[in-house]
Amino acid sequence: MMSTRRVCGRALPLAIAGLVYAAGAAAQSEGAVAGRVRESGTARALAGVQVLVDGRVGSVTDTAGEYRVRAVRTGWHRVAARLIGFRGVVLDSVFVRSGATVSANFELEPSAVELAPLVVTAPIDELLDPLATSTEQKITAQDLRDLPVSSLEEAVALSAGAVGQSYRGGRIGEESFILDGLGVKNQLDAATGGLGLRLPPDLLGEASLVTNGFSARYGQALSGLVNVVTRDPGDSWEGRAAVETDRPFGGTLDHGLDRLALRAGGPVAGGVGFVAAVDLAGRLDDDPVNAPLPEDPRDPRTGGPGLLPHNSGEQWNGAAKLVVPLTGGTTLRVLGVHSEDQRLLYDPAYKYALDFAPAQRLRGDLISGHLQLRAGSASLRPLILDLRASRFVREFLRGQLDGAVDYQVGALTGSRFHFVGEELARAQDPAPSSVPGLTRPDLSDQTPWGVPAFFLGGASRGDLGWNRYGETRFQLDGTYGGIRSVDLFFGGEFSDQQVRTYQRVLGFLAAGDTVPLPAISAFSPRNVAGYVEAQTRVADLAVTLGVRYDQYDARTASAGQARGTQRSVSPRFAVSTVLRGATVVASFGRFTQAPDYQFLVDAAFDDTTRTGRFRRGNPNLGFEQATQYEFSVRIRPSEGTSLRMGVYQKRLTGLVASVPLGLNPDSTIFGNADAATARGLELVAERELRNGYGLRLAYTLQDAKATSTDPFLLNRVISVDPTTGDTIRPAHAEFPLDYDQRHTFTLIARGKAPENIGPRLLGVRPIAGLEGAVIVRARSGLPFTRVDSAGVPVSGPPNDSRLPWSSTVDLLVRRPIRLGGTTGGVYLDVRNLLNRRNVVAVRRDTGQPLADEATITGMAEAAYQAHPEPIPYESARYRAGADLNGDGYLAGPDELLPLYLAAARDFVQPIFAYGAPRLARLGIELLF
């Protein structure tokens, strides 16, 4: 018999329902199955036992009875053990997670005659497995379907330690994205621009967020890695079609959403499998806000349902995968992903001239291939080699559209945006002449207030930005199991990158004295890395030890400026054991990543700890680095419940920030100047989905502070000793990082009604089989810096103020249906169910979303002083209601100033200071 402690009583839903599991040391697209085989009754280790995974011999036990089957694809498998003279045992439904080693022990009964193998349903407890040394939070395809989330990013954001797409206080983009074991990263502007590639959720097999001492196999990340495994085609053709919309709700619940998701896959011929998915989504208001309506009835937003115009977005994501089994256990996998994201950007200054507000387009393409070679699977020296290659291209454009948007279905256009000057940008035209098609904007006369103030019209601001990032990557990973009780991982990667950027401002003017020349860059960085890692287990003690070498050379065109090749060595170490039923893990890791290449070139925006400036690039930037210590405990208080707790401290050094250049306080340059410390506590308590309901509560306590020696900053934190009267000038200043969210609570509750309960209505039980999920989130506020009325930071360190707490309740209810033999479901997904008005930004001068009356009055009076001229009747600016004396002119402060005041009040509306309102979508899906 097999070990009942391992196998029995662990319900099948453990693998399905758990949102987060601790798992193996390596985060990859495959896992492993390991364990011991003993003789039943005597506990004698059995050597030479064949262990089969899905009918193929994966390993043979050694003299200690131990075995390990490596490189098992994530998903359900059937694991069997057989030996002549013994009755075989089959573990049905063993779920292997990526990067995890599943323990499966067997006890075989001697049998003189050949008997049918004993089949056992075999749920495996990964929580207590000491081989799982990484802090890994999993998301399955089922989670994406069952929870009120629409994308992988939203699902990952539910993880402990995540603040949106920032992890453990890190900057956005400090994570790495691993797709089927292959790194994909936007190294150009990840801090501000995103990856540019979105996998259709329907093609997701499993994903996880790894935040601690992750495997030495992975680099290019400081705060964590998002590991995604795509699904393989099944043994038979299957698929899913789903349509979502918010049209039926109308009014303020209709934000113009339409989404279509399709997936189909199955065997083609000769063992070749194919699976593809597309996800088309459009929303007329793609960045909805819960801002209060204006009080002035003349403001068109007063009577509007809440949608912002010129704020639509559409995403087209498609992916296809081909799996080709070759000879000798070799498998070739080819994956292609194409993503397009284009959106109109609502700009309050263009509220009344929407055609000239900016728009942007982001496109990403990935083609990757994976060839796996296995040798000696059934021997004592198994070797697995994974060779991967990929080509990733990302292109970004932002500017003024050269025509009206032609919507076809909702916000879906079916065509690509085209921008004024797009060809110039793509050709990186250095000519200083103005951009054809761009003209100078003027103050709009199409506002309810008429007066020439605040609102622009007639033309765009004349900005044009383009960049293109390409990367060709080769990666070789090896796994060698020839050393007893030790798994040896080794490999390396090489990536050749191409960076092209173009940025033009005030494009309606020729570049010259006051208009900067186009900012253009073209260079080809190169990255090389290698690693070796060993994982061993002795009884209940598991140790992982690895070291990674990274090298990068920016190879900028500025000869003599670049620092040249830079190198870094990063050790990783983790040890874990089981103490009194609890698995204890301690880990240490050093991590490096090359800086965003946008910091190497001029005209880059934002930096690590302070935002919103325009600075000179620095081709001399070196690695950003982090060193992290973590201690975690995992226990299972009762069957079906689990508790995980971890504390960590992470020291970040060499963070890119702007530093003074010379003595001119307005002149800065990027440098590896900042350091920071992030420390925190993460707590996850979970009850598996049993008896119709499951719960998960995650809490994160975090403190992430930057350390700076910037002399300009230090001047703001000078203090006077009250006793001695001495002026104290500190050697450094500490202040919260931008993503320092102190407290984060996330509660996920799921339930499912039995199939046969509830009253019948017209022959249907409406609540039978009903599934529901609720996500409750509460977060403390992010930090921000107060400024005075002139925009100058007030005394004290940056980020010394905080936004208020925010909270949301999201709900998804699904009713399974069958239509003519086809299963499916109808579901209602509601976000921010309570329609809470969360403040996500404030004015830095008031600390509130709203400007104060003095500010508004000051703006109005300044605008009036700039344009005190009368407005004649025939002018498009004339507003009859303001002509108090009816003489055909709007003239003087009595008639004009109220209009300027109303215009100022309109202009400063804090539209984007508020989070999303209540959003709902109705969906129907069919599985076939």
Partner: protein, 383 residues
């Protein structure tokens, strides 16, 4: 749960799915949008209708070929650069449909002007384009520009100004630009001088018509020529055909007609004792002109023969019957333009200003009537 085709359970589910798809067929809610703020009603409909209230000059009005709107030049005192912009008004008055300024790449760093705008029958816009430093007495760059459509920003310069025609004095200004067919423009080639008439007086711009010019756009490059026999021309208008123009001469009460192909010239109307005729315009068998008023033709010691014009009375003449109708209105008028159907006239109106001036003879303040320097546009019905 299995479904039996046609059972209530089945129908209910089908209805559910059908309802979802029907919902998808619904339209989305529209985002908010601002309503139009303009009007096509004049401020006061009493005739003559005052179309504009601009505190600076509105001038050079012309009708769109379909009579739906009026193009004119409107100086903008509210702008730092005091641009003279292209404006378009509905035919009945009301709010400007468009106001195009900033025609220079330098934007509000320079004063840019669109003068004498006129749209051809096929929709091309011609105008006199000028630009210069803010506050400069005269423009630094000037040209005749033609746009392929109504947008002046897309125009190309076709004839720089000043220009010299062999045998003719140098023309440093172009006035009263008119389309004469698809590929020809006629205009007054003029000389402009600037003079301060007295101490503390504002500077006067004195325009002396020299000769009518023709700009031929049919070739690869524009060719400019002068029409003989049009010395001291004070106005020009397109005739009923592309081969016919009407014009007036300085100090003359007659309106002349010229056949361009033959050069034959005759008098179509003589206002006689009513005074000097100028600013002629012809449409639909009617002729409009400004006659009499404050106008004088003299030989200036520096400028030569010069017509000093502060405006007069708008007359409309039926060319078939020679019936002459003087249109009554406040103040004096210049540059009338007949609508394409001939039933309306838009003209620059210059109000009369009565102010007290010092009389050096009596040593007292006495009332004096002057003419405003800046005009607004007025619309007359022409019965």
């Amino acid at each position: 749960m299995p479904i039996v085709p046609g059972s209530p359970t089945d129908l209910c589910r089908l209805a559910l799915a059908g309802g979802a798809f029907l919902a998808i067929a619904c339209g989305h809610t529209d985002p908010f949008s601002a309503p139009p703020f303009g009007t096509t009603q004049p401020f006061d409909p009493a005739p003559p209708v005052r179309l504009t209230f601009n505190e600076s000059a509105d001038r050079g009005a012309s009708w769109l070929p379909d009579g739906s709107a009026i193009l004119y030049s409107a100086q903008q005192l509210g702008r730092r650069d005091h641009d003279v912009c292209l404006a378009e008004l509905p035919a009945s008055g009301g709010s400007q449909r468009r106001l195009v300024c900033n025609l220079s790449a330098f934007g509000d760093d320079s004063t840019n002007a669109v003068e004498s705008p006129v749209l051809s029958a096929d929709g091309r816009l011609a105008y006199v384009k000028s630009s210069g430093r803010i506050g400069a007495v005269s423009p630094e760059r000037e040209a005749v520009a033609v746009a392929p459509g109504p947008d002046p920003a897309s125009a190309a310069d076709v004839q720089p100004i000043p220009y010299t025609i062999p045998g003719e004095p140098r023309h440093n200004a172009v006035r009263q630009l008119r389309w004469q067919g698809a590929d020809r423009l006629v205009f007054i080639g003029a000389h402009v001088a600037y003079r301060v008439p007295c101490q503390f007086c504002e500077m006067d711009t004195i325009v002396s018509g020299l000769k009518l010019g023709v700009l031929d756009l049919s070739g690869t490059g524009a060719a400019v020529s002068a029409l003989p026999g049009t010395d001291f021309a004070s106005s020009v208008a397109r005739g009923p055909t592309d081969d016919e123009i009407y014009f007036t001469l300085g100090g003359d009460s007659r309106v002349f007609r010229r056949v361009l192909s033959s050069g034959a010239t005759d008098v179509v109307h003589d206002f006689g004792a009513a005074g000097i005729a100028r600013d002629v315009h012809v449409a639909a068998g009617r002729l409009a002109a400004v006659v009499g008023g404050r106008v004088a033709f003299s030989v200036d010691p520096e400028l030569g023969p010069t017509q000093w014009d502060s405006g007069g009375i708008v007359h409309v003449v039926d060319l078939s019957s020679a019936a002459d109708l003087a249109l009554d209105g406040p103040g004096l008028f210049r540059r009338p333009a007949l609508s394409p159907e001939g039933g309306r006239v838009v003209a620059e109106g210059y109000p009369l200003i009565i102010e007290l001036v010092f009389d050096p003879v009596t040593g007292e303040q006495v009332p004096d009537t002057t003419v405003a320097r800046d005009a607004d546009l007025y619309l007359f019905g022409a019965p």
